[in-house]
Symmetry: D2
Subunit: 109 residues, 4 copies
């Protein structure tokens, strides 16, 4: 199947989207939400980028390299912000973003 060579990157994208979605709403329930504002905003952006890139790879699209290069950039931003916060959901999200960035960078190369 056209998408099998992309499988580990697709998996990383959907895992990252899920971690970002979960992190965003978990941040909204933290005591100091204000401190989490940038994290929430980047989570929303990153989840959208990951779902888009996964779709491109699943369709074997011409624009895979562009989509993955874009996704990797947003993942890097989100990974750095999440890494600043100690909560489990932020640490897990940071890890997922970093893995996804690495996979997407490989795809975009």
């Amino acid at each position: 199947m056209a998408h099998q060579k992309h499988q580990s990157c697709i998996d990383a994208c959907y895992a990252c989207a899920q971690a970002c979605d979960h992190c965003a709403v978990s941040c909204l329930q933290e005591q100091d939400v204000k401190m989490m504002a940038r994290c929430i905003a980047l989570d929303i952006d990153c989840a959208a980028a990951c779902r888009l890139a996964a779709g491109y790879m699943s369709r074997g699209s011409e624009g895979i390299k562009q989509a993955c290069a874009f996704c990797a950039q947003i993942c890097r931003l989100c990974a750095e912000e999440c890494a600043k916060h100690k909560m489990d959901h932020c640490q897990a999200c940071s890890d997922a973003c970093r893995r996804c960035a690495e996979e997407c960078e490989r795809m975009a190369a």
Copy 2:
């Protein structure tokens, strides 16, 4: 984590989105594309519905039941259409749609 009770349904949604995306572009490469027109159109719709429902579940959204009820309806339509065609990508897509519909129906109940 808020999304863990939804995990098997989230997984089914993303697997279904991937199967639909792959089926759509594979149908476009078939000899008789015209015969696949409804399949392609439903694949596009179904992939979008699955990604949306997965996002709702990952965020523990209030509208999970509504999103999953909607997604299940589109999955049923797509599963039935794909089942009519013998190609591997259609059969695999039909299976993925049926599994996703079942998971979503459980979630919407």
Copy 3:
């Protein structure tokens, strides 16, 4: 064109998505973000529902009624929550959600 009969509803959906996206990030910059948590969560959900429904209508999809019925439900939830808050972005978002709900309910009927 297949989508012209849906034009006012498509426009309402994209206007609502934009109002929700804007409201979400504006809420994140408010003094008391905690009070806005439900508003932000519903904004994210509603923007996604509106973009999905607009896509279905633009494609003249079979599932238009289902997509619009779903979208209307989420718009109603978001409109009610936003109406509770005095900020301009919440009031504007509440109005956009209500208009979109009405258009989508007409489409789903």
Copy 4:
């Protein structure tokens, strides 16, 4: 509002998404669908890119430049392919893609 400086680009993105969605399903109803396969595939990709970029701009996201640069690339691919076909939906889609590419390139600069 944070998104007002982006308004003409947001409008161009949603207009392009709608034109692409409409073009994709119209191509599926053409006599010679096979000839339209690349057009359909790029339409799907382009609609997704446009909706993503519009969301980023509506949220005043950090990644606006990256999202718009990515969107512009896909719009250019889709505009070129659509321009090859004489059907009204392809010509209209090509125009919408070109306008959107120009707006996005300005935003990404």
